[in-house]
Symmetry: D2
Subunit: 311 residues, 4 copies
């Protein structure tokens, strides 16, 4: 992640300019406001604005007139209750806005979350930077043999070297061709005056899916937590999970009571089906139950045993 001098100056200026407000503020989040949190080789997540705090969740749940803070212990109890019983609307009363730089194939997964506001850098309008994601060697994983959409062991030796070379070379070559087709000089004129240059909206199609794009992405806390519950999960692809983890850090600073409740009632939780619950009850009653006697399929049985730490 290399910001230009101009970009760094813009960020520094924004951070230098403190103003008074009557709104709720969260000093722990303000500490990192506008600052890029590095992700992958060239990406980042920056918090660029936020609305509300832990107390705003409580305030909305109570439809109160003031800012809504009573005692932290009371707020914690109510927030835990709301999270446990899936009263989701009070969490929608907080809002956060991120600026994210990310590879296009990650952006394609991310955008499937529809309840968010997005402004993406337009490659119809502007020229994309020469930046591509190339996995670190320890992320160069083989296809999983057991999970059709998962990773297996890390590639090593000549195969790993060749894969990295391919990813680097193909990205570089297609990008060079992209620039050649655009035929734009720094000053906006044609690089080669004898050629017209291909329209930007067409030339971009020659780029590979690991090219970086960027966007503003804004959502409410409820939908952010839903995003994080799916994308900070170990089953999520590594390349989006690291973004989710950077955002978790922002949530921890922003709404610490909600964050704790989220860890316990979402990320650390497990949903047991009716038949799984029946098995647990039989086990607790001292019965010996194996898969055949459980009424569960082999896959569900394994999932249950893993959840109960009995595998």
């Amino acid at each position: 992640m290399a910001l230009t001098d101009h970009q760094q100056r813009e960020i520094a200026e924004a951070r230098a300019d403190s103003r008074p407000t009557l709104r709720p503020t969260v000093p722990a989040l303000e500490e990192i406001l506008y600052e890029p949190l590095p992700v992958l080789d060239h990406g980042f997540v920056r918090v660029v604005d936020y609305m509300g705090d832990d107390a705003a969740v409580v305030q909305a749940a109570r439809v109160s007139y003031g800012r809504g803070t009573r005692k932290v212990s009371e707020d914690r109890g109510l927030i835990n209750y709301l999270m446990r019983h899936r009263h989701t609307t009070p969490f929608e009363m907080c809002e956060i806005k991120f600026h994210v730089k990310l590879p296009v194939f990650v952006a394609r997964q991310w955008i499937r979350h529809r309840t968010a506001n997005v402004n993406e850098y337009s490659a119809r309008y502007s020229v994309l930077d020469r930046e591509f994601y190339v996995p670190a060697p320890e992320q160069l994983a083989a296809q999983s043999a057991v999970n059709r959409q998962g990773r297996g062991a890390v590639l090593t030796g000549p195969e790993a070297e060749r894969v990295l070379a391919i990813l680097r070379d193909d990205a570089a070559r297609t990008y060079d061709h992209y620039l050649w087709m655009l035929n734009e000089a720094e000053d906006g004129n044609a690089a080669d005056p004898d050629r017209a240059g291909l329209a930007r909206e067409l030339a971009r199609m020659n780029l590979t899916l690991n090219v970086y794009t960027q966007w503003y992405w804004k959502t409410d806390l409820h939908n952010l937590l839903h995003f994080l519950s799916l994308r900070a999960d170990p089953h999520a692809q590594y390349e989006i999970r690291v973004y989710a983890e950077a955002m978790m850090e922002a949530v921890r600073r922003w709404v610490p009571l909600v964050y704790d409740a989220f860890l316990d009632y979402r990320l650390g939780a497990a949903t047991l089906s009716g038949r799984m619950l029946a098995v647990v009850r039989r086990l607790l009653a001292g019965e010996t139950v194996d898969q055949a006697a459980s009424g569960l399929g082999p896959r569900e049985w394994r999932e249950l045993m893993a959840t109960l730490d009995r595998s």
Copy 2:
């Protein structure tokens, strides 16, 4: 609109507590933050939080690193362009949260706007206040003869008096019965120890649709403008239009450049169908066109003439 001492104190405390922030702030909106703007006989609209400003629209459209302010004149030009060409996503980057007190029949219209976050005071959980909307005499309109969902002339004389008496008496009687069925004393015990008291979730069904409820309502600027374009329109029912008008005042203070663009390109604008445009072109070419020759139906013809100030 009568706030209790406790509510007034909560508002005063929130307004007294200024804090530093690195986020964009809007002093003109902070001036009225938390303050109830009176609407109808007992209702209000209060801005309780906001995110972003005019510059945030520009910043998102440019996916920029800093706060995005250049010159006001450039920002105005870009905002006008975005509004005119319906580039809606940059306007989604601003967010506002209102606390609203409103009659239930108005809330039923309002809630049809789905792209907002809502927390309503729960009459399953709490007891509603003794407050009902009764129209001011000048709003006591007859059914329109020409528009099935509009108003005609104002009622006067004994009919008006009788209508007002009915609205007041029925609201009061059903509310008295509501309290009697609840059988709750101030201290939470039964008012009449010989009766169990009806569940709140049932007793509320005896209230009339002009009883006041309240909610927190949060939305982004694009969806707020869409709401206002429908509800600040002369065809909207008066009782919701006055809420829209109070919110227009908040928008004017919050994002003055967007507000100006909204007035010109939305509220003051008109959409002409292909056939209407054809008529305008013929008129501009000096042709005399009447309804029969226009290709428009009588109703559309009248609408076009009204738009062109020729009726």
Copy 3:
């Protein structure tokens, strides 16, 4: 639920008119298409259209070219997997449209589910029927002493009689006044030629919240199941739960494999927090755990014991 002759004839005509289609069809659901399923004293739910079937979920998950049916057993396995792992988008590929008649206070809860399409009968435009919900005596419950938004024991004796009388009388009186204020005769003229009559959009505010309204309500299967998981739950208010139960019957006929998966993985399931899971693991390891040693609050402990059938 009393339909007029005209309404019954319209339904009979729609049911008599069979046509060929190349789309997937579900005979078990067609059996009740257009037929009102009675709910409460005057309400109903009718399925008026549907799109897709169990196979359409599978077809979308596989992005296949044909109709997607292989073997039922394979489809069941995939549907169970999708439901268990919350792959929700394939369930969004089925759509259903209901016509519902329901009391206004139920409609107010229902409408909070935003991801649906709604067309409601307009009381600005038309006159509402003289129909109100009055609970059956066995539903006339006292306020719960332990749950602020729940019901306790059933009211009996004179209190019950008085409550029923109030609900009936107040609904009748406010409705009579509504008609008087409207002053509309059957033929569209004024009932009393000496009075102008109040606008419909105003007169309706005098009605009580148990008056019946009706709407078309259309949603996809995923969002329908989410609605049902909240509203067919024992904690939902009885008056909306009975609608959810009627819709469950429609789901059972429409997509039987999805229905079974929903019963096991949603309605019959329980989510255990991280700390609850830790308690279960300790119990399974033979440890004796009480609330004090569990790390759970008293309320969570009770919820966990109830889930494990140990309370």
Copy 4:
């Protein structure tokens, strides 16, 4: 667009299997049900299911008990009225499901429309086909000099040849490398037993943005028309516009009355701002108005003159 024998057989089977239904049907749309409408060099749009017809819009607007058809002329009048006055909810009562094959860079524009249901072919789970979009020579346009996101004149001669060669070669090379990195043989085993093969979720990042993907895309008629109003517009990029045009044909067959209203009140319509309307009124009053006297900026003035056919 080359379908495999298996795919063609699946489509033929679905088309051969007619069944009776009580739902509304649209024979003109059934004629093309399941059939791929070719778009670009390898893409297509297929209608795979639909719900409702013109009458369903009317039926919902009236909240009626039967199927809602009266006379076509009455339905047309009501549909025109609803379209003109932006009563959008009745149009949400019809639903359609498409299967679309499209280049990834087109999919990235398309997915920004959030109010739709989508299931995309997963390149984490499966291997993508060797198909890329390469523009036809007459679509190989230069960057527009006046519109930063538009096209200018068509490229010709050696530059055009070189661009086509680049697009073809880079797509082919990156795809070959993709296959090499995957190292999967037809039978699921490793093509080269000495290599592990890269995970699918990683290998895909080496593909160029003109590779084809496919998805099921389902939406309601209102949101479809909104999509079409933006994407069938001359300002839309050609490569998405041709998809919109194929879908227009489906709409024409499906809901002909809505289609006509859409052409007149949306596609053929123009929105004039308050200041533009003032200019039109002055012109109609016989005044000579030029840009300087109009109160409009140069760009808006040009847009208005173009709308009025006076440029």
